[in-house]
Subunit: 457 residues, 2 copies
């Protein structure tokens, strides 16, 4: 059988690329957990009807799942299954199903793949990883969570080392109140049109507002003026006030956005903006909306996005369960940086130390050395066969393994380690030596818990 | 819309369960990486033809994937796609596709989900996580890798804290050589029959060997005698020799199995056995085979299994690319321990410290305290609203959060931390305090690499 072709839209990485991608996932996880978000995984499969519940024509985006051969009486075929296309709908369904077993506010994170059946094109993927956090609560979600999301995102993107990013924040209540105050009867349509400012420009937005909504020239002007307001502090509120509209919804939106911007004022200047042009396309946002972007790549749409949704989880339960969340588009960001040639792919192995094996080596003692070093947290391989030292060092170099160990042949002499980057070789005590922190590489370190995960039998 | 029912065979966890499951995944990852295995992820989707290449009637097991609405000219519909049912076939396909970009021996691990369209029943899942390691090499794979796999599995299962396990090891060459020496023309069929010893017993095996293979009573006796040989050291070889068969294939099998058993003799007595009844059902094994089992649960089939396969990757390339690997059945093990009531689910949050928020708290200073503590590796939440202290402590207790912090109101006094298990409260310096190692919980600690993952722009 010949080798199958790669399947378009389903990206796979080479080992050295995956090492970096996994490091990013670890950084995301660390920061999400550092703010107390709980890890969760839902099934990759949802009922088709669940995926349709969010509304819109989603069928084209959905990959259905069914057994190639069906037999009668197999219940799996009685429900139609499909792959999830995001993590928000599965979260809503999960919360509804497990409502009585969850503690609220329910804070969860997930780093996992979703699937969209769209046409493959540059920057568009059919299989992609997103890193989401969301908070769901009874009745109301504290505005503190709205304020903390861009902070977490900022810390993550900074530690990953992405080229400079900026987060634009707006509030749907502010837009809806303002549009309502202008006498616009369908503020949602206006929001969707203004959301295209980036793509169709000022003239395009003007034309759409007139042709689709029959707005007056004054109303169009006001909408465009609102969309142009941008500030790194809470001064946007004065600019809005100057436009002469006022009502409760608008005030609520202004207050919420002011709180969020104010709460982030310790982040570096230029990384956070109130930007009243930002709307996010999706229907379900009801308050704060976020959009994170690269400063350098204007062609790249969104690094992360999200916002507050008051009515999504309530789709299933007769309860008021608002939420707020963000989603980092990991696969798209990684692909962009790969394309720009910015990903360092020097290490294709998590190994720190390769132990040299001589023609007459006693494997038993080499295995023992390896095990002792692993006890100290070092990732160790014993070279898998007797070979020329040059070949063994070549193996280490090709994989980006930083150290090789020359085992002592005489019991009275210590083993020696060689740093392949500095070329320095020095004796070590394997019961003491640990990889210097700055040379530990991509690998995770797990801290065992105080509570054994399994009860004694 | 009412809440959808749970989908049978697609297990989902509650947060406190997922915390444990993720801890297990971290332990697996740590040990796989400590032996130098590289992380890799393939797409969850494969071409249907790829999945069929391994042979057998697999269609019933396969979940096909296709867009609900198809439009013309969309190339995704030109290939038929399906969800992978294991990680071995995707590995073979991946190695073939990326052959020139990989370094051999290619050692990779993966902890990921696979899908089987089988009937849902106890212990059987349609979506399940497996944790695999494999080594693929040109020409031949060093026997060292055969020997290292049970060592890694043993370390993982021990650190997870599973009830006592035992690994049974055999070698297909040994069986094939022996059966060949008996004059059996189809050794593979004999292997498959003997593999059922556990299920159908000695009489069942005897009957099958006679009815399906027309073996003589002497040959049947010899097969059964071989299958009964079991030893914790290399003495099995003498017992085989006593059966009076000898040929090159048998000798090779005996030598390989002896090497593996000998290399593991430092593991605790009773955890490793040469067990000549073990065959593993799959066609593609050609040498060492492994089967890990619980000592206590005889009804539970396999904790982990695997072996050596010489011809799998070569399906696609005109090259000799043998491999050896094991797969740990994470979902099945976890479900078993849940069923036995052995999973500790005390923590549903990764948070170490909850900062108390008073009616008059300045959120800016509480956020600052939280950020300082996060710098020291502590997972911190500020309580999300002003509330009674008892309610806030209740929130921490419900989630298994070990500490609460009472922020000082007077600048001259230190903040105080309270250990919720010992009830002790004491002043701390937030710039110094770190969670005691034994109280750090499930969360991972990531060590940043010496090589920045992104090049400077």
């Amino acid at each position: 059988m010949s080798t199958p072709k790669k399947i378009s839209g389903f990206p796979e990485r080479l080992p050295a690329q995956r090492m970096v991608e996994l490091k990013w996932e670890d950084i995301i996880r660390k920061h999400y957990e550092s703010f107390g978000y709980t890890p969760l995984q839902t099934s990759v499969v949802e009922e088709v009807e669940t995926l349709r519940a969010k509304g819109g024509d989603v069928d084209k985006e959905i990959f259905g799942v069914s057994r190639l051969t069906r037999d009668e009486g197999n219940d799996v075929d009685e429900v139609r299954l499909a792959l999830r296309f995001d993590q928000t709908v599965p979260l809503a369904r999960y919360v509804a199903q497990n409502y009585s077993n969850l503690q609220f506010p329910f804070k969860r994170y997930v780093v996992a793949k979703s699937y969209r059946g769209e046409r493959a094109q540059s920057g568009r993927f059919r299989e992609f990883t997103q890193a989401d956090i969301d908070v769901i609560d009874h009745g109301s979600v504290s505005i503190e969570f709205d304020a903390e999301m861009p902070r977490i995102a900022h810390k993550i993107l900074g530690e990953i080392g992405l080229p400079e990013t900026v987060t634009h924040i707006n509030n749907r209540k502010l837009m809806q109140g303002f549009y309502g105050g202008l006498g616009i009867s369908n503020p949602m349509l206006a929001i969707q049109i203004v959301d295209k400012l980036d793509k169709i420009g000022e003239d395009g937005v003007r034309e759409s507002l007139v042709s689709q909504m029959q707005l007056s020239e004054d109303a169009v002007q006001a909408c465009l003026k609102l969309a142009k307001i941008k500030s790194s502090d809470t001064s946007f509120a004065f600019q809005v006030a100057a436009l002469g509209i006022s009502n409760d919804t608008l005030t609520e939106g202004l207050d919420e956005l002011s709180y969020v911007i104010d709460a982030l004022d310790d982040l570096p200047q230029g990384s956070i903006f109130a930007d009243l042009s930002i709307a996010r396309g999706l229907d379900y946002y009801t308050g704060t909306v976020y959009e994170g972007k690269f400063k350098a790549y204007s062609d790249f749409s969104t690094i992360y996005g999200g916002g507050r949704y008051d009515n999504l989880v309530g789709t299933y339960l007769n309860r008021n369960l608002p939420g707020v969340g963000i989603s980092i588009g990991l696969t798209r960001i990684f692909a962009k940086l790969l394309e720009e040639g910015l990903i360092n792919t020097k290490e294709s192995s998590p190994t720190h130390v390769l132990i040299m094996r001589y023609e007459d080596s006693d494997m038993r003692s080499l295995r023992l050395i390896a095990e002792e070093m692993r006890e100290k947290g070092t990732n160790v391989e014993v070279y898998h066969k007797a070979a020329k030292i040059g070949d063994q060092i070549g193996y280490a170099n090709k994989r980006g393994i930083p150290f090789v160990l020359f085992p002592s042949i005489e019991p009275s002499k210590p083993h020696e380690i060689k740093d392949l980057s500095t070329k320095k070789q020095y004796p070590i005590d394997i019961y003491e030596w640990a990889v210097p922190a700055e040379r530990q590489g991509h690998t995770s370190r797990i801290v065992t818990t105080q509570i054994p995960s399994i009860k004694p039998v």
